[in-house]
Point group: C2
Chain length 242, copies 2
Amino acid sequence: MATLTKGSPSRTHATVRATVDLVILTLQAGRPHVLLVERGKEPYRGRLALPGGFLRDGEDLHDAAVRELVEETGLDAGHLHLEQLATYGTADRDPRGRVLTVAYLALAPSLPAPVAGSDASDARWAPVGDEAAPFRLAFDHDQILRDGLERARSKLEYTTLATAFCAEVFTIGELRQVYEALWGMAVDARNFNRKVTRTEGFVVPTGQKRQPATGRPAALYRRGPATALYPPMLRTRVDIEN
Amino acid sequence: MATLTKGSPSRTHATVRATVDLVILTLQAGRPHVLLVERGKEPYRGRLALPGGFLRDGEDLHDAAVRELVEETGLDAGHLHLEQLATYGTADRDPRGRVLTVAYLALAPSLPAPVAGSDASDARWAPVGDEAAPFRLAFDHDQILRDGLERARSKLEYTTLATAFCAEVFTIGELRQVYEALWGMAVDARNFNRKVTRTEGFVVPTGQKRQPATGRPAALYRRGPATALYPPMLRTRVDIEN
DNA sequence: GCAAAAGTGTTGTCTCTACACCCATGA
DNA sequence: TCATGGGTGTAGAGACAACACTTTTGC
């Protein structure tokens, strides 16, 4: 019944392999960093890529993401934020054949040294920022990274997710630096302080204080139970696409 | 090297099939409706499900979503909103074997009669609303539907997407009914009017008017170029998860 | 005292909410 | 003239931006 024209997809159901790729973001020296691996195998051997790997038989997607995360960072996955980002399925995105990748976004407190090994010949934190100078990552990973960053940036606006970049206890100043690093703009420390401490459930005081290198000691806080931030903390005018 | 323990995933790479499922929302009689099909084949024969189908060889994900959309609704896909929602990949979600599904969300202006045929023995618009009375859809489609609805609801807040539910030209009153239907709450018509008409690029006046059944004629508008809505139009306090 | 970071107070502006009120039409 | 929906005006509350000012430490 169907006449296949040149280049059109056949009517057979595609059998695909699925990978899970991770955009793992953290903060280092006041700048957002992403975990990248140098590929040890073809295709794209020697090129930088997001960490990830094939989904295994009988393995849930989310479990696969957790597994990759632990393999690459050695972090205890229980303590960090992991959410699905999007799925990338262009037919020719992988020269090995039809491979769908489900991308996940992970947010981690600062820098545990990455774990080298597995199929990545090298893993490192790379600073990510001005889109002016992107990496030339393998596959469509540049796009995935952009999407992940934008997701993180916009979620800071209307959720309390910024605390995911902080350690167990943190100061308001550290939390503010998360916003400044990801948004790439200065945030008024005084207004920020009020906003955060007056938003029910965003942070809870520990009663402790911490001495900075210089200056007045800052009160320490833990994450609060709130997840939504209402009213949101809006960046000054950025276009949202889609 | 690896010792497989009982129930743990094997180390072989999963080969999966991929489907694309659609949450197609529209408005009918002031209530949101979703397009459902009655399954004509096993599994879940006779049960309601979201429309969808298998990804074909060499077919891009997004193209597959467009194809399904056209097949099921007969709509011109150029005129409606289609975006990726999320991917569902629990190992046992499909009794036929390992099937990943990439869900898409589509928003359509009101009711073109659905196209029966293809592998769906029947297609219909079903009212969707109070989560108190969910459908008992096939697979994990109840979850996908919930996620799609919530996505649509929250996108009304900070984008101009509500116009996707309206015809080519529409009145502010009709646009307001989109918000009221999806949010399930009354919106003050007078404040809404100002908000919409004063937000640069949300709607553009056509200069025409339309006579309602009763009452003063309403000015007609088209969609404007803006996609983001700034400042957002916030629902009164709803928790955002994840 | 000085630098540096934490934290409070204050003022003007903007936006939203909640209404009162007028407009244009059909019955 | 009434009912119905469209549309403007306005006053009060809340949030935010901007910035002056105080606090607490190390040097």
